[in-house]
């Protein structure tokens, strides 16, 4: 899963940083009073910056196209689900939801078909985060009053998916949830 690689990457980078700092610190412990220091630090600084710049640029150009805004952007969804979040529940329906008389239904979406969630809020900001049957966060968007966020996703695995609110919305935020079925 993506999160495992993220954690691993972070731990490796953090370890490298720690080793560098430790090494630099130790190099200052056993040294005579005469300054030895670093030869031509300006040149080294330049290379260090250049490498960092190149690495970051590569990272940016690889990851930006994978942003959710571009995922399945030119496909037509097989199913559209309307979502209205409110304190402290999600209302989901296959038809547009009337904000004056919001009512929802149980949702079932096809496996491997493109699903589009049209997410908004009837009161404060909420989050709409989808967790797979293994309780992993797989994708999310915000539910903002006055706006509709379109979240597209293809579910490969059938099962019960859960939705948790991931934007703090008040005292029952931790209990704000829903679910749907992928068949």
């Amino acid at each position: 899963m993506q999160q495992n690689s993220i954690l691993l990457l972070f731990l490796i980078l953090a370890a490298l940083a720690t080793i560098t700092f430790l090494y630099i610190y130790l190099s200052s412990k056993n040294v005579e009073l005469v300054k030895q220091g670093m030869e031509n630090p300006l040149k080294k600084r330049f290379w260090f910056l250049l490498i960092l710049f190149v690495v970051l640029s590569i990272f940016a150009s690889v990851t930006i196209p994978k942003s959710p805004y571009y995922l399945f952007a030119d496909e037509t969804p097989a199913k559209v689900v309307h979502v209205s979040a409110m304190q402290f529940a999600f209302i989901m329906s296959e038809n547009a939801i009337d904000p004056k008389r919001p009512s929802g239904q149980a949702i079932e979406v096809p496996a491997n078909g493109l699903v589009e969630f049209r997410v908004t809020s009837l009161d404060v900001n909420h989050g709409f985060a989808i967790y797979n049957p293994e309780e992993r966060l797989i994708t999310q968007t915000q539910a903002m009053p006055g706006y509709v966020n379109r979240l597209r996703y293809k579910f490969s695995e059938p099962g019960t998916y859960k939705i948790f609110c991931l934007e703090y919305c008040g005292m029952a935020h931790q209990g704000m949830r829903a679910s749907f079925i992928v068949k």
Binding site: Q2, Q3, I6, L7, L9, F10, A14, A17, T18, T20, F21, I24, Y25, S28, V31, E32, Q36, G37, M38, P41, L42, R45, F48, L49, F53, L56, F59, A60, T63, I64, K66, S67, P68, Y69, V124, N125, Y131, E135, R136, L137, I138, T139, Q140, T141, Q142, M144, G146, Y147, V148, N149, R150, F164, L166, E167, Y168, C169, G170, M171, H173, Q174
Partner: protein, 480 residues
């Protein structure tokens, strides 16, 4: 140089900040204990603690940076003692009002008080206006402080000198001290985000008093909220860095750092990046213009270049195979820099839009920002506190307790943070008073976080005790 008067107010600042810090850590531990199921508080009590903890922490470490910069600025320019006192009074009054709205009024909209949550009253009716008034008191006090420091700097240096623009060319006639450059860049950034806060409060008030005639735009309000919140939380780190530029070499017995062309360019760039990086808080708002999302990722990435290339590299050069008089303050600076870098790595990972989809508002977020706060900026400030408290003593930086304090802070801090990182990678949401059965993995991690945070707290208490003698001595010394 620093007068007795300014030493006294700095001592009061330090005691105030550390007292509020201890209380806020206790709130943090209570939150983790509640999430761990060790104690049982109502969700409202949890969110009250969370709101109080977040704003108090941001407030105290912001003023910690400001008052240190104010103290050290006196080496270069005259600063106003009256404004310093005024800032202290406004800060204390603001925090007390804030606590009134949260602890008594039960206001609990989170430290980001994201519009329109504060309008959905789930607490005493008076608590919302009192909360915003507290905010106004803090922001106005800090704005006056910032502008006064900027004005004092500009009395001695021209605008282009304060930004060290003359260093872009070869052999500049006058040198801008690094401390002046960084202070100025940071103060300008802070002024900008405090003005955003004023606009934010004004728009909120307009809606509050219009009785429904005027309604704000939620997306605009969110942009403003994070322009303020993200920026102030980052700028306070730069205040800490200014202190390091001034004191690291001095405490270490090394020659003073100089402004060069690359230092000048790096810090000027920092100002631009820091003011646009906040867009990464809106990645999951798909209605935000796409261009701004990309700007958010690029600014977040490249903000690390000047920071790493100049500050971190300079510290490496200063230390590498060079005899250093290691003592508690410069060790705190050095370890704090490492914490800052590591927190920055966690931040860059999260600022990648395609990662943010699975990290946004999980515990990964408190994980990385606590890294560069609790193990970064706080250590910068503690280094300054210790240096200050031992300024007049014979046995400067006497090693008493150094090892013990550092071990407690390191062990406690790392364990506390790891619990956050692991939970974040395990999809556990942030800001949950309790974890539902599906997210039960967060429960033992929360208890672990509480246990390690207690170790960190003990380190802070010993540190506080050690420097309180020095601070009290300064306070009781004759005024003239």
């Amino acid at each position: 140089m620093e007068s007795i008067k300014s030493k006294k107010i700095t001592a009061v600042w330090i005691i105030t900040i550390l007292t509020l810090f201890v209380v806020s850590i206790v709130l943090g531990i209570l939150m983790r204990l509640n999430q761990g199921g060790v104690i049982e508080q109502t969700p409202v009590a949890f969110y009250v603690n969370m709101t109080t903890h977040g704003l108090t922490m941001i407030g105290i470490w912001f003023v910690a940076g400001m008052m240190a910069v104010n103290f050290l600025l006196q080496r270069y320019v005259k600063t106003s003692h009256t404004v310093n006192i005024l800032a202290l009074v406004f800060t204390v009054v603001g925090v007390l009002m804030l606590w009134t709205s949260t602890f008594i009024g039960k206001f609990h909209a989170g430290w980001t008080f994201l519009y329109p949550l504060p309008f959905k009253i789930m607490w005493a009716k008076w608590a919302t206006p009192v909360f915003y008034l507290a905010l106004v008191v803090l922001v106005v006090g800090w704005l006056i402080w910032c502008l006064s420091l900027i004005a004092q700097i500009l009395k001695k240096y021209s605008i282009s000198q304060t930004f060290a623009w003359q260093h872009f060319k070869k052999n500049p006639k006058v040198e801008t001290p690094p401390f002046i450059l960084i202070s100025m860049i940071t103060l300008v950034g802070i002024t900008t985000c405090l003005i955003a806060a004023v606009v934010l409060v004004a728009l909120t008030a307009a809606e509050y008093f219009s009785k429904g005639a005027f309604v704000n735009d939620a997306l605009l309000m969110k942009n403003l909220t994070y322009f303020f919140g993200h920026t102030i939380a980052n700028e306070m780190l730069y205040l800490g860095l200014a202190v390091i530029y001034e004191l690291f070499s001095e405490i270490s017995g090394r020659p003073k750092w100089k402004t060069t062309w690359y230092v000048a360019i790096a810090w000027n760039f920092t100002l631009v990046f820091i003011l646009t990086a906040f867009f990464h808080h809106l990645y999951m708002d798909f209605v935000q213009p796409e261009g701004l999302q990309i700007v958010g990722q690029l600014a977040s990435y490249f903000a690390s270049l000047p920071a790493a290339g100049v500050t971190v590299f300079s510290i490496f050069i200063a230390v590498y195979r060079t005899k250093i008089n290691w003592s508690l303050p410069n060790l705190l600076f050095f370890i704090g820099t490492a914490g800052w870098v590591i927190g920055g790595l966690g931040a860059v990972i999260d600022a990648t839009i395609s990662n943010n989809v699975v990290l946004h508002n999980t515990l990964w977020v408190p994980a990385h920002f606590h890294t560069y706060n609790a193990m970064g900026n706080v250590l910068f400030s503690l280094g300054f506190f210790y240096w200050f408290a031992t300024l007049d003593t014979e046995k400067i930086y006497s090693g008493k307790g150094t090892k013990l304090i550092l071990s407690l802070l390191l062990i406690g801090g790392i364990g506390f943070l790891l619990a956050f990182y692991i939970a974040g990678a395990d999809s556990i949401p942030r800001r949950y008073s309790n974890y539902p059965p599906e997210l039960a993995a967060g429960i033992p991690l929360a208890t672990m976080g509480a246990a390690f945070a207690t170790i960190y707290l003990i380190g802070i208490l010993i540190f506080f005790f050690n420097i309180s003698k020095g601070c009290l001595k300064i306070l009781s010394s004759p005024s003239s």
